[in-house]
């Protein structure tokens, strides 16, 4: 692993209802290129808020997120002009628990919309690339299907390659397998495993401890909006220090 910092998160805070709900309460962490960072923690600990803050789907109350050298929480970019968050979001793929495919478009249209509309890739080229990606996840023959015709596992694989079609520098996953029937979890994890092997930088919120152990190179444990422990999978799962983490692991393992 290189130590090239891709995202630096500094003292990130997200409050709701004034200060009554502290979804994030001062999180500081660096995400390096090539990291597969797995975020674990009990429900309501702020995992989703953390992940969604990284591409500003949630606007943080305080703190900064420096992505590829630019503090994207600022109103103005380094050139003094208004910061264009869309520009940075292109480079951060996101995969949601509920897939969020566009139901009125075919699989192929789902995948070419952003490359064509955002990066001005010619339609034919975008389709070619999309078909290659679909082939990699074994869904090339479903290119002209509509999302409603796919199983949950297939939808999530499409959602992953839809994000990959933008050639992002990092992929963010928020519980990508939580909405799936158990027999479909494996096919999605396989795609993610493959992606990790290719060196994609990934931040993954998951309850799949097996995946965290096997694929992650760093594990973050969050509780009450705070980052309580961070370490290698071995350190976190075999030698947990924080009592909250010990308690959490005793319940989920």
């Amino acid at each position: 692993m290189t130590n090239d910092k891709l995202i630096q998160v500094k003292d990130l805070k997200k409050y709701y209802k004034g200060e009554r709900i502290k979804a994030l309460d001062g999180v500081t962490v660096d995400i390096n290129r090539g990291d597969v960072m797995v975020v674990i923690g009990p429900s309501g600990s702020g995992k989703s808020t953390f992940l969604r803050s990284l591409n500003l789907l949630e606007v943080p109350t305080a703190g900064s997120i420096i992505f590829e050298g630019v503090d994207i929480t600022q109103k103005k970019g380094p050139d003094g002009k208004k910061l264009d968050i869309d520009l940075h979001r292109q480079k951060m793929g996101m995969v949601f628990q509920h897939f969020n495919l566009f139901p009125h478009m075919t699989i192929l249209q789902n995948m070419t919309l952003a490359p064509v509309q955002v990066k001005n890739v010619p339609q034919a080229e975008a389709e070619k690339k999309a078909l290659e990606l679909l082939e990699r996840v074994g869904l090339k023959d479903r290119a002209d299907a509509y999302p409603i015709q796919l199983s949950g596992g297939q939808k999530q694989r499409v959602a992953i390659v839809r994000a990959l079609a933008m050639e992002p520098d990092v992929m963010l996953f928020d519980e990508p397998t939580s909405a799936l029937d158990p027999e479909m979890v494996g096919e999605v994890l396989d795609v993610m495993r493959e992606l990790a092997r290719e060196g994609m930088t990934m931040v993954v919120v998951t309850h799949e401890m097996g995946f965290a152990r096997e694929v992650g190179n760093r594990v973050l444990f969050m509780a009450d909006g705070k980052l309580l422990e961070e370490g290698s999978p071995d350190a976190i799962f075999n030698h947990p220090q924080n009592p909250r983490l010990q308690d959490f692991l005793s319940k989920v393992l």
């Binding site: 789907l57 292109q90 566009f102 952003a114």
Partner: protein, 233 residues
């Protein structure tokens, strides 16, 4: 009393009725187009972040929904356009007086914009927030998200309500004869003035309005079925 001679007499003025149909159709079509554009703007203002725009749009919508159409049209015609003095007096298609027609389009558009904006707003809000999040996370701007992701889904959902509004506009446009627009109702009036008979002309008008609205709702229902069929392919 309806008589055959009465109909014959009334139909001698078929040209007036034909012009009335052209006028009513143009009026309604323009109203739907401008009303829809206005409604989109209003809906976006009401859902947007700016409090001032939100307040203006809300007051506008409530005002137009809470006052009678005939009052609105009189205010637009007699107050806003101050009679006919400020508008050019040429004739569209050689018979529609622009100085009457234009204020009518404005008034109807302003009115239906208010109603349509509520339809559009509820349609947009019925789309899962996850759709917007997925689109924005792919780097699409809020405008492109609206255009490619939200509106196509929302419009499909609200098409029945929009169709209903179109039919309503055709019917309500009949009020425009009160400011001298030469629509179907004004043809009735003209025939009455010339023949001293109104009943037959009214029946003809009824048939004409029905022939406009009924197929319209059928055509839209057909498209609606076609579009929702795409969902289940």
């Amino acid at each position: 009393m309806l008589t055959v001679q009465g109909f014959q007499k009334a139909l001698e003025y078929w040209k007036l009725f034909l012009q009335g149909v052209v006028c009513t159709v143009s009026l309604s079509a323009l109203t739907v187009i401008f009303g829809f554009i206005l409604a989109l703007i209003l809906a976006i203002c009401r859902m947007g972040r700016s409090r001032i725009l939100k307040a203006i749009a809300t007051v506008y919508v409530e005002l137009f929904r809470a006052t009678p159409m005939v009052v609105q049209i009189f205010v637009i015609f007699y107050v806003v356009f101050d009679g006919v003095k400020v508008l050019p007096g040429f004739k569209l298609f050689g018979f529609i007086r622009f100085d009457r027609f234009f204020p009518a389009v404005v008034a109807l558009s302003l009115n239906s914009g208010a109603y349509l904006s509520e339809i559009i707003r509820s349609g947009i809000q019925s789309i899962d927030i996850g759709q917007t999040e997925a689109s924005r996370s792919l780097g699409l701007s809020s405008v492109k998200t609206m255009r490619f992701v939200i509106l196509p889904q929302a419009i499909k959902n609200i098409l029945p309500a929009i169709a209903n509004e179109f039919v309503t506009i055709i019917k309500e446009s009949a009020i425009c004869y009160t400011i001298g627009v030469q629509d179907i109702m004004s043809a009735v009036n003209a025939v009455k003035g010339a023949t001293y008979r109104m009943a037959e002309a009214l029946i003809i008008a009824t048939v004409l309005y029905f022939c406009l609205t009924y197929p319209t709702s059928k055509v839209i229902a057909h498209f609606e079925r076609k579009m929702s069929a795409g969902d289940k392919r």
